[in-house]
């Protein structure tokens, strides 16, 4: 009941912002000018595959790299006609974009859902229009699983597990106190990265998480919480930050407290954005598990497979790398993001 009324409210909102959303689409997209006319009527017949992609927004360096990868993979040369829109972190914009893709009769719809719930209605419309939907980076919570073909993205639990393993093996040889900077409360990456770390370190009695607090995935949040940790816990050995930005904030706090990040207090993070990798190469961070944003090539492969009548796995996990300080120095010059 509740979800239905919520949904109808979202629909109303979506309709209300229709004009705005369209404006955002045309300004945010702009990747394939002139092509929409040809694909619009015929549903992308011939060799080119028309794909409508709705991105969350441009909130981080990670997201910018993700967008670039998709735009560079789904090109005309590769046989795609990409319609790209930026939802500016708003679900109603995404719903509006998906509706307009359905109206245009694209062949495939792909999107990174900004939140997990509230997608049933619009995905049902896509299903009725026989347009396959592919989720990238983030999952949705819908009653009917057939509403989307596949979900491609990183395994957040695995990321936390790998950090936990590294800490356990490299630092957990003696008793260590770990503080954890969590991501946004309730978000999937925060929940999963915490769970993965706990799972990987539960058998090592040396690893003890003494404090855990949310830093909201931001630098300022990471710094603020770390300052508090430094006041309340005199013996911190390791900081585990759920993303690079919070780790970078923690570095600032540790330096302000007169300690050396990476030596006096070890730092491990997840993501591998440029600033994080730079800090890793400088020795201020000790280990980073990458969360690969370069989903473009995999997305292109999936669409090609589906288009030739093949089937794909319901869940496709992307390859994530991991870097210590030496590997970061080597990898840094070639990093795309």
């Amino acid at each position: 009941m509740l979800s239905r009324s919520l949904r109808s409210r979202i629909l109303v909102t979506a309709t209300a912002v229709a004009a705005l959303g369209l404006a955002a689409c045309s300004s945010g997209g702009g990747t394939t000018p002139g092509s929409s006319g040809t694909a619009g009527g015929g549903g992308g017949g011939g060799d080119t595959i028309t794909v409508g992609f709705s991105q969350v927004g441009a909130e981080s360096g990670w997201r910018a790299a993700n967008t670039k990868s998709i735009q560079e993979s789904l090109t005309k040369e590769n046989g795609f006609d990409l319609k790209f829109s930026d939802a500016q972190q708003k679900q109603e914009n995404q719903i509006q974009a998906i509706r307009s893709y359905i109206a245009q009769g694209v062949d495939y719809i792909a999107f990174s859902p900004v939140v997990e719930t509230g997608w049933d209605a619009v995905l049902e419309e896509a299903k009725q229009a026989n347009i396959p939907v592919i989720l990238t980076d983030r999952a949705v919570d819908v009653a009917d699983e057939t509403l989307y073909q596949t979900f491609i993205g990183s395994d957040f639990v695995e990321e936390g597990r790998r950090i936990g393993q590294w800490v356990s093996e490299n630092l957990g040889t003696e008793p260590i106190n770990v503080v954890e900077l969590q991501g946004t409360t309730g978000s999937a990456p925060a929940i999963d990265r915490k769970a993965g770390f706990e799972e990987a370190t539960k058998d090592n009695p040396n690893v003890k998480v003494v404090a855990s607090q949310t830093g909201d995935f931001t630098r300022d949040g990471g710094k603020k919480v770390m300052e508090g940790f430094l006041q309340s816990n005199p013996d911190i050995d390791v900081v585990y930050a759920h993303n690079d930005d919070m780790g970078l904030g923690a570095i600032e706090a540790i330096e302000a407290a007169g300690k050396k990040p990476g030596e006096d207090i070890k730092i491990v993070t997840i993501d591998g954005v440029k600033d994080g990798m730079t800090a890793l190469a400088e020795g201020k961070i000790n280990y980073i598990v990458e969360c690969n944003p370069l989903l473009g090539p995999d997305l292109a492969d999936i669409i090609k497979t589906l288009d030739s009548g093949g089937t794909v796995e319901r869940r496709i996990v992307t390859e994530d790398g991991a870097f210590d300080q030496e590997q970061a120095k080597e990898a840094l010059p070639d990093r795309q993001y």
Binding site: Q213, D216, D220, K224, Q231, E252, E255
Partner: protein, 371 residues
């Protein structure tokens, strides 16, 4: 500094006596103290500090580290700087019966403008580069303030709507400036603003204290404060009385944007990055809360800068104590809300009246009542 206030500053002794009662002198002055507008916010502050000390005994310890002071109180002072600057401007705006929702976005823009220039400069460590960057950021904020003031005072749009424009569009503008990225810089002089120390004290706190003192002086030692209050109480009447209400309103919005700009520079210096999405996010709400806790009415008129300072300290200490007390992540919002609602309830005239009535009733019975 709050001479026109009916109530004395919190630090001072509980001075002037309203209706004298039959009670003894000592007991009476205690009552006046409890009735003071800032009594409960200060109690909240003390309780939070005591709780933090109980949990972490070295919390209030201030040590000298690398030639400067280090410890919990220093962190609170440094952390308060950003919110104090924003709340300072907000107090003046609220006193004119207005509100400025755009402060968070203005912070993001200020950081974006300053850091983009420093990042593009060949010599990020030169003081000239940093000064130019800061000044140009403040000029942009000045323009925004003029725009807000124009919308409110000349066009006559309701403040909440007028400033909503920049609140919504501002982060987009900041993103355009930074190209959608988080701009990171390495610049010694810029870092000093938030992380540096002067005479052993955090530079950020000194900057905020300076602007607080100047604002307090200008509003309480010149007519400006009274003019602002008169505009807030009744703009039409004050205009008929010869007060240039339009100019006064315009000035407070410009000041508010400028203070927010300085806060944005301190905030970006704190993390050495311009994070357009998150810089100053929801700070307008914290600022309004600080002003309200400080006893300034949202209906305009009388304002208290000292009260705002206390409100800011309460909020900053609350945020820090959450980490120190180890409140579980899922309970953080609830904990904050409970503290805030407790302070607001204890301050509310209705609740206070009820409590006083109860105390009087109990005073008839010869039982000692806890304060």
């Amino acid at each position: 500094m709050s001479s026109p206030d009916p109530t004395p500053p919190p630090a001072g002794a509980p001075a002037p006596a309203p209706a004298p009662v039959a009670a003894g002198e000592r007991r009476f002055s205690l009552g006046a103290l409890v009735r003071h507008r800032l009594f409960w916010p200060l109690v909240a502050l003390v309780v939070l500090l005591v709780a933090s000390v109980v949990k972490s005994p070295q919390f209030l310890q201030v040590t000298v580290l690398d030639g400067h002071l280090f410890g919990g109180p220093v962190d609170i002072l440094r952390r308060s700087a950003v919110l104090l600057l924003v709340a300072l401007g907000m107090t003046l705006v609220i006193a004119t019966r207005g509100i400025d929702l755009s402060v968070g976005a203005v912070m993001a823009i200020a950081g974006a403008v300053a850091l983009t220039q420093i990042a593009a400069s060949p010599s990020p460590d030169s003081v000239t580069t940093v000064t130019t960057a800061i000044l140009s950021a403040l000029v942009v904020c000045l323009v925004i303030g003029v725009f807000n003031g124009f919308m409110v005072s000349v066009v006559g749009i309701q403040p909440i709507v007028a400033t909503l424009v920049i609140m919504t569009a501002g982060r987009g503008i900041a993103m355009l400036i930074t190209g959608g990225q988080i701009t990171t810089v390495n610049s010694g002089p810029y870092k000093t603003l938030a992380s540096g120390f002067w005479l052993g004290l955090p530079v950020a706190a000194l900057i905020a204290a300076f602007f607080f003192a100047v604002t307090a002086f200008v509003t309480r030692r010149t007519a400006l404060g009274v003019l602002i209050e008169s505009v807030g109480i009744n703009p039409t009447a004050s205009r008929l009385a010869g007060v240039r209400a339009r100019t006064i309103i315009w000035i407070v919005y410009v000041l508010c944007a400028l203070f927010a700009g300085i806060a944005g520079i301190l905030q970006s210096s704190n993390i050495m990055a311009a994070d357009s999405n998150n810089a100053g996010l929801f700070i307008e709400l914290d600022a309004i809360l600080a002003v309200v806790i400080g006893g300034t009415s949202l209906a305009g008129g009388k304002f208290s800068l000292t009260g705002t300072l206390v409100g800011v300290l309460v909020i900053t200490t609350l945020t820090l104590s959450i980490t120190i007390l180890g409140i579980p992540v899922s309970a953080v919002s609830l904990f904050k809300a409970l503290v805030v609602i407790a302070v607001c309830l204890l301050q509310s005239p209705v609740v206070r009246h009820k409590m006083r009535a109860r105390r009087r009733a109990q005073a008839a019975v010869p039982v000692e009542v806890a304060a």
